[in-house]
């Protein structure tokens, strides 16, 4: 069961080869074996999961089955799930049991999927290595000395190590694509507004978007089909016809055009990554796809713009964690002011505090125009660059990350070098565009991915192209421990 695709698991369940309960027990056992060294899960609740599995088996016996019914899915601990501890990787929410389901969880429940557990993540999704989690760092299944990426490091490591068939994740600046690249997985960040943010704990509201991390484009298509839905409880959710992503996987791609941004393929690009990308281009060319140089002139401003806007929003979004209503409250304080100070000092980790400080600063009187307002203007220019680029091509190919995974502890003392991890992913968040990272090979036995960026709501084309690539390559089928 370990390396079966979602489609194969669905077939096994519907043909009664195995039950959801057996399947769930299998993965719970994998978690028991592997999680102590990987640390991909914050919360596992066997009883809750098995209850859902038995309910799914009932559905299956009544032939009330769809793509994910009975399949265990690991849920990033950013999604509120009723009755489940929901921590967002923070001490601040260590005692928080959600009284309600997020839209994403609701949709998985409706489809009959089993919640396999809540995955580890950087605290409040702030980080690129999963080292900022209150629950300890997650280890990369390909080499336990290395980071799995972040912030959805637990979700990626759970799938890469075979503890879960697929997982949910979120991406504010690269948090789906970067860990997917570092763990040899396929991860899709949808268009902003495609997946509801209701019940998804906010980091930077104008950038946050949920999506799947799985073993293939096909699995991502199945996951996205469940996750994408209009939601009146999220004002930024967009009413959109959800296409059948699975159906379009096999559409012909011959004669289509992929753009190559010259600003990404320059001397700064890691030589080894460059070689991998050239092989990807070669594969697509063999399938009859044309390549064209395009320009994203303002992309070099993405990181500074992001590190103004995201912390600004975060500084406000995280104000609610004040010890008054829920979550952590300092034990001793003499007055209200001290309760606030101690609660937030003790409840938040270093990276979260750093970003709250930056965000508070850029929104302050006298600095707002120079930082926040200017960043918003450049954000619009960045989106405009993409708009022009898509007049000339169907998709844009880019590196997912500047390198493969780095060693745990390597970048923790240097936040800026950590921030550079997202240099190729952040611009799509700023523009609100969808993008995927797909496995493209290995460098020194560590996985590396490539990124395809699509136009708004064109997830179908992204998945189609990725699937076609995965039909003629087998990088996505490699698992840790196999010969590479």
């Amino acid at each position: 069961m370990k390396n079966l695709s979602l489609k194969e698991l669905n077939l096994g369940l519907s043909s009664k080869k195995f039950s959801s309960e057996e399947l769930t027990k299998f993965f719970l056992n994998e978690i028991k074996i592997s999680n102590p060294k990987i640390n991909a899960f914050i919360t596992v609740d066997e009883e809750k999961s098995l209850q859902q599995a038995r309910d799914a088996d009932k559905r299956i016996s009544q032939n009330n089955i769809n793509e994910l019914t009975g399949i265990p899915i690991a849920q990033k601990d950013i999604f509120c799930a009723k009755g489940w501890k929901t921590t967002c990787g923070s001490k601040m929410l260590d005692n928080f049991y959600s009284p309600y389901d997020s839209k994403v969880i609701e949709l998985f429940n409706q489809s009959g999927a089993v919640n396999l557990g809540k995955t580890n993540m950087d605290e409040f999704a702030m980080g690129s290595s999963n080292e900022t989690s209150y629950y300890g760092e997650v280890r990369n299944p390909w080499n336990l000395d290395y980071v799995p990426g972040g912030s959805s490091g637990g979700s990626a490591a759970a799938v890469a190590s075979g503890m879960a068939p697929a997982s949910t994740a979120t991406d504010t600046g690269g948090s789906i694509r970067q860990p997917s690249s570092l763990c040899g997985l396929t991860g899709l960040k949808p268009t902003y507004g495609l997946v509801s943010r209701f019940g998804m704990i906010a980091f930077a509201s104008s950038l946050d978007q949920a999506g799947p991390i799985a073993k293939s484009a096909e699995d991502c298509a199945l996951m996205l089909k469940v996750m994408a839905a209009h939601d009146t409880r999220d004002s930024t959710s967009i009413k959109q016809n959800i296409p059948d992503y699975q159906k379009s996987l096999d559409h012909p791609i011959k004669g289509k055009t992929i753009g190559l941004p010259k600003e990404f393929f320059n001397d700064d690009l890691n030589q080894e990554v460059k070689i991998v990308l050239e092989q990807v281009i070669d594969s697509y060319q063999k399938m009859g796809v044309n390549f064209k140089e395009i320009s994203l002139a303002n992309s070099h401003l993405s990181i500074p713009v992001y590190y103004v806007i995201a912390p600004a929003e975060a500084s406000s979004n995280l104000s609610r964690y004040d010890g008054v209503k829920f979550g952590y409250r300092a034990k001793e304080f003499k007055d209200l002011e001290e309760m606030y100070l101690k609660t937030r000092e003790q409840g938040f980790g270093e990276e979260v505090k750093r970003r709250i400080l930056v965000g508070t600063y850029v929104l302050s009187a006298g600095y707002y125009d120079a930082y926040y307002l200017k960043a918003q203007k450049i954000r619009r220019l960045i989106a405009h660059d993409f708009k022009n680029a898509f007049k000339e091509c169907d998709l844009i190919l880019a590196p997912s990350c500047p390198s493969t995974a780095f060693k745990i502890g390597d970048k923790t003392e240097d936040p800026v070098s950590m921030y550079m991890q997202d240099m190729y992913t952040i611009s799509t968040n700023l523009a609100g565009l969808p993008a995927i990272s797909s496995p493209a090979g290995f460098i020194n036995k560590m996985p590396v991915g490539f990124q395809l960026i699509g136009n708004y709501f064109d997830e179908a084309t992204i998945l189609n192209f990725t699937h076609q690539y995965q039909q003629i390559t087998d990088w996505h089928q490699k698992t840790p421990g196999t010969d590479i």
Binding site: C80, A202, S235, T236, R320, K325, F326
Partner: protein, 475 residues
Amino acid sequence: MSWDIVIGIETHVQLTTQTKIFSGASTSYGMPANENACLVSLAYPGTLPVLNKEAVKKAIKFGLAVNADIAEHSVFARKNYFYPDLPKGYQISQFELPVVNNGFLTIGDNKKIRILRAHLEEDAGKSVHGILNNQTGIDLNRAGTPLLEIVTEPDMNSAQEAIAYAKKLHNLVQWIGVCDGNMQEGSFRCDVNVSVKPSGSEKLGTRREIKNLNSFRNMEQAINFEVNWQIEQLEDGNEIVQSTVLFNPDTGETRAMRSKEEANDYRYFPDPDLLPLKITQEDIDDIRSTLGELPEVSIKRLVEDFKLNDADASIITSNKKTYEFFQSLISEGLDPKITANWIVVNLFAKLNDNELSINESTINKDQFVLLIRRIMDKTISNNAAKKIFDLLWDDPKVEVDQSIESLGLKQVSDSSAILPLVQEVIAHNQAMVEQFKSGKDKAFNALVGQVMKLSKGKANPGQVSELLKDELNKV
């Protein structure tokens, strides 16, 4: 040295919507603590705001009623500060781009008070101190209640003008049905900015803001105290420090709460959870069609069509219920002037004596109509009607016609019955008749009084005067 007073007012008007401005929780007043606190009100992780369109409609309606511009594009912003009754750590408000701009109200003798802006925002909750072991509790029932904050230019120059504006606004928001106007429950709260400057000076003085005034009486006292205090300070050579002050109704004094230096930097920025608010001309036209007649127009109609005097007309339109009551009486065919007079003088006197509003009036309308009708058809005199009105007020079951009978108040309008009385009075009051002849008009009234007395109040006073005049001419 003489001083000019400069006043601007910010009013928080609670909009009468069923649910909160960004969630489906109820806005009902007087519920047990936190009964109306849903997950959004509690700012639970992952919850998001969804705009209540009813609140927007009411804001537009207000904008139209004060001849303001309705913004096609307005933006919700976050006002960030920490306080236990502010669950998100920020208030969703409008900052740079409010929904209503550039309106006005007129007060007194057509003085224009400009309304700079009106913006939508959510109310905060309440801290309840000392509930348990001296601890403070938080009640979030009110958190998220829709508010329209209405901001004037500093166009008022006395406490009287400020009160006139506030009363006019208070009437208007109820008239157009956007606010219940209940000041005790905090549905209508005013912050008053006061400054003084040497008479005629162009430069505005430093202002102090008196927060949260929830009655017109308090507002008047607070402004008067504040103005005197500021003038005293300046005359003593002190400077006014820009600050926020609170009014203490017990002492009648204002006291500084915090100065500008201590004020928060609210770090406003557009709320990324909400899309910009788009309003089309069609939306505006739809709402305009529901606006109905505004008090300004009604008052004109009362004066022009019904010939009421300005004072009666403005009292009748001082709130919509009174105006509607008046309209319903007129539609029964009653004389407008007599009716207006009866509402303004007699009904309001009873309401005021009992500290009731027109909404709480228990007067039996049908009998009230009949009473006025009996005055019109001269069955009873105005004075007799007052006696019956007293009975009717105390007991709505009292029947007017029956009371006229049983109290013997029926007016005598038969000349042949009145004439002998007139003649008798003339015969017995020669001195007064002499006085009248020598030009003392007062004597005439005294003679009328004598006839009325002789008739035990039942004679029709109009007829008495006429007959008396005729008879005196004969003398």
